[in-house]
Symmetry: D2
Amino acid sequence: MADKMRRWTMDAVGRAQLKLAETAIPRPGNGEILVKVSAVALNYRDKLVIETGFGAELPFPFTPASDLAGIVEAVGPQVSRFRKGDRVISTFVPGWIDGKTSGTARHPAHVTLGGLLQGVLAEYVVLSQDWAVVAPTTLNDAEASTLPVAGLTAWSALVEEGKLAAGQTVVVLGTGGVSLFGLQIAAAHGAQVIVTSGEEEKLARAKSLGAAHGINRKATDWAKAVLDITDGRGADHILEIAGGANLGRSLEACAVGGRISVIGLIEGFEISGGVLPLMLKQVTVRGIIVGHRRALEDLTRAVDRTGIKPVIDAEYDLAALPAALDHLERGPFGKVVVRMR
Amino acid sequence: MADKMRRWTMDAVGRAQLKLAETAIPRPGNGEILVKVSAVALNYRDKLVIETGFGAELPFPFTPASDLAGIVEAVGPQVSRFRKGDRVISTFVPGWIDGKTSGTARHPAHVTLGGLLQGVLAEYVVLSQDWAVVAPTTLNDAEASTLPVAGLTAWSALVEEGKLAAGQTVVVLGTGGVSLFGLQIAAAHGAQVIVTSGEEEKLARAKSLGAAHGINRKATDWAKAVLDITDGRGADHILEIAGGANLGRSLEACAVGGRISVIGLIEGFEISGGVLPLMLKQVTVRGIIVGHRRALEDLTRAVDRTGIKPVIDAEYDLAALPAALDHLERGPFGKVVVRMR
Amino acid sequence: MADKMRRWTMDAVGRAQLKLAETAIPRPGNGEILVKVSAVALNYRDKLVIETGFGAELPFPFTPASDLAGIVEAVGPQVSRFRKGDRVISTFVPGWIDGKTSGTARHPAHVTLGGLLQGVLAEYVVLSQDWAVVAPTTLNDAEASTLPVAGLTAWSALVEEGKLAAGQTVVVLGTGGVSLFGLQIAAAHGAQVIVTSGEEEKLARAKSLGAAHGINRKATDWAKAVLDITDGRGADHILEIAGGANLGRSLEACAVGGRISVIGLIEGFEISGGVLPLMLKQVTVRGIIVGHRRALEDLTRAVDRTGIKPVIDAEYDLAALPAALDHLERGPFGKVVVRMR
Amino acid sequence: MADKMRRWTMDAVGRAQLKLAETAIPRPGNGEILVKVSAVALNYRDKLVIETGFGAELPFPFTPASDLAGIVEAVGPQVSRFRKGDRVISTFVPGWIDGKTSGTARHPAHVTLGGLLQGVLAEYVVLSQDWAVVAPTTLNDAEASTLPVAGLTAWSALVEEGKLAAGQTVVVLGTGGVSLFGLQIAAAHGAQVIVTSGEEEKLARAKSLGAAHGINRKATDWAKAVLDITDGRGADHILEIAGGANLGRSLEACAVGGRISVIGLIEGFEISGGVLPLMLKQVTVRGIIVGHRRALEDLTRAVDRTGIKPVIDAEYDLAALPAALDHLERGPFGKVVVRMR
């Protein structure tokens, strides 16, 4: 093992600040593991953090991104969860093991990898042993790296909180990473999946992944289309990734007793919608922020059991991060992954 | 028993259409009971139905209001749930016994007493035996009549759906009927209750009912005050009766993992608020529309067990309905009840 | 339509009392439907009722069995849920629509078709419109008739109450009707299914239906085998159809936080097991008694969506009921169905 | 601060092995706190561990007991949760923060203070900062020390898992520490509490604490008495501390949809009961093993809010541990506490 590694860092906010530095490989301390990183999945949030800081005080020099898959290269003292050679993925909210997040209304839990904490766009990363779980055995590294945020967000919304069941109808808005995981997780539970997109070609690809119906949201009112498809019954679960005034459409499309999981804010920081459908249909609107470690372990087992293969739109070499961010900007079909090799 | 009775009816929408008619006492059919009405609690919704129709096609000549307490005067054939002499209260959504409401996204359940169905502002009313439950033994008729909508709405939000527990913090907005029930139910479960109002005198009365804190919402930012009172933790449950942009304040005031029950629309048909507090705190926003019969039976038992006494601001004779509606317009402290005597 | 029909009746308890009588076709009353029966699925309980009365005071002359599929031939006055020509299946506990059952500790709900109430082994049956639901469109009549008890019991245990999720491990004991439904429902949700049986050939057939593992309970300790298969983790859900001391094995085989649904009493009226595994693993043991109508509607949707085909071991003509009961005695692989044709 | 302290230790299993040693005061390491112990509440389990080892491999020289209240005297490096001077109580299952316990069917979580881990019967104890929570402000040290096991067990059974609500009926068997907490927690939520005991005088004391009814289990069949008191409805929650064949009585006494929390094993390692009441009433039987840290924090808030005062039957000086164990043997009314002073 060499003693130098490559690592993306920035000394200030802004994409122009990104540089691929050569630094010393860190050493794992008490209860820590050193991971040789193989793949890092990017999230739209990483782009926001790089370009704007996303409201967090970043620890400069700062390394972005949160989702890795790799091999445990060394373990520090008092490490009991892993051994050298274990294949692991990271957790997004360090220390959130199960149940409720910590934090308060005034200070919600907001310490995350690649946010307030250093991220993982490096050839080696040191993590607390509590911040990692064993990777699924049926996925390659690039695929496995997409679980910690995109996979777990969809799983938390639909399964951990949503108690999804066969025969229910699930609507996923768009074809980004979380939405396609939503599609695949819902299909694996025997649910009927409806996908919306502005592009017919993406709808066709979504159907090949198991969606029963595609709605071109540029050609039609998607909420009315959901009512038509479900014979007026509405959708039991909606993955609301857009937010903003789109919540109003989700409230229209939602079934009696249905659930809308708010997982994104593409349309801005303010959501709005009609109060009558919310009340008359007794809809549950639930904010979701990724999920806890136990749910990530459940998801890992489900992936290995059902054969779900995460959808990766493109892989980029570590040095090609800027191109990967451009791809993210264009709106990928599924995930964009950076590979160390 | 006479064969004529008094009954408020209207032949068209509008308060000027209200008239106190004398009509034949109805006879109970198969599975029906005849109730000699003793008290009818009014809800703000009754005022909206009388003045605007509230979107429903009313069956003219139409009798408004939904919440009665009275005595079973006679039973029709095949009635097994009640006997002559039983003291009963009505249910708001006929036929909703337990679990989910019926209805679909296109046609949510909206058939209610005093809405699409005939109401109860009459000396005698015929109900299906399935639309009534035994009245609590510790309440007089006027008090008992307030349970079917105001009491049950607060109970459904906090207990049936909200799983309220001792030590939690509950915020009730205002001092109307539902809010005061929320206060009393929360206090009976060992919760800390915070009440908001624009009038100091109402805050004082709320404290005498068991509220731990009062916030004058005209003098201060109520959401910030909730954070101060809870040392930054926020409220576990908020009874959101205002709606509109006030939802944004509720999202600010809500604890991590907290719940906002949307039960009213005083501020209009559109709700809005920040998506970040919703997501970061993983808040649940839930529309509530009164509740089912089993929950009303649970509430009845809870009232008898805990000694909760519903707060009645004023009682009016049947003939004084217009004055009662004026009182409703002014914003009562608790409930307004019409008495037959 | 003729005015006579065939119907199995008994004037006293005991299999020798069964006779195939010719009686008048009944007429539907208020709120009732007349169903031309096409298929009746038998349950082991029907055999117990016929041979012992099973503790119920039967209304002689009594017709056994509870689960039918058929066509609505005529509707009585005030019927709104169905029209002539609709294809329906029956519900087991009449009037249990959603939520909790009615009844008390002293008098639990025990009024069921083919129990205290008349059963359905006849060419025509009159039912309350509330006691039927629309049949799944993807099943033939024989298949559809197996849903009301066997299908719904497995669904209630695993989905309605158990909140089954992909990646979990489900153990079904034996290969009777409920167990095979449990297998198929679990597989349709992406779960890993383990089946036990005393016959290798049945294990092979169960695997062809989607079971991941089969355990020959005569050749091995099934609870230990479950621990081996799951690498010591245990089963998340166990369909405990045997009862008796077998509960002790289920407690051993159960995962931390797992659930044992007690759905049968083959091994007698007393259950027993170790308290330490119950406590240390925080296991939930839950009694299940079929389920409510809303869950049957959910199951119907799930069947149509996932393509589950109920397993029918044999079909018998109406007149061949005694042979069908003999088959039940031998322990069928899946269901035994009586056909009217 | 001195550098020597007194501490109970044993070099082998057996009460005769207990000795009050003088040892060095330990120093807190990374992430650890040093607690000056003020009070230690004893549990019946401590007696079993001292006398039999209770199946665990004890780390000799071994210090028994798990529940302390005290003051943080010093903090080690990287401690963020506490400061010198904070008043704290311990957690029973170290590292169980929220949600499910860790562990598997083969190896359930069983590492507890005063079990596999060193206990707290000492003047000073070092704990991981994650194994303590802030003590309630309204309790003195002796009272506060009773929360970690007895208080939390009752809270987990009734509130965290049981979702107790006002108006429900709760049965607590006996008047030991867990049962009296169950009584007080249930009463604080507006529930009706029924207590059983073999001594009239204890029943009278239980009533003065808020029990609505007392049943002398030596004079009457307690399950039948519960049915009589509840007018045949049965109990919604039963704290089953006896186990053994008593589970059968609990199943009889339980309401439709009720819950039996199995929290003790006084009557042996095997439980048994009737399967028909379990199934017909759809009862939930749930094993409970104390609870997690988040629930202990919830309980602490509830205690401070409701004014619950734990019932302490007697306090003993540290040196008087043998007398305290004798008291435990006799069956205290509430808790037995050891005080350091």
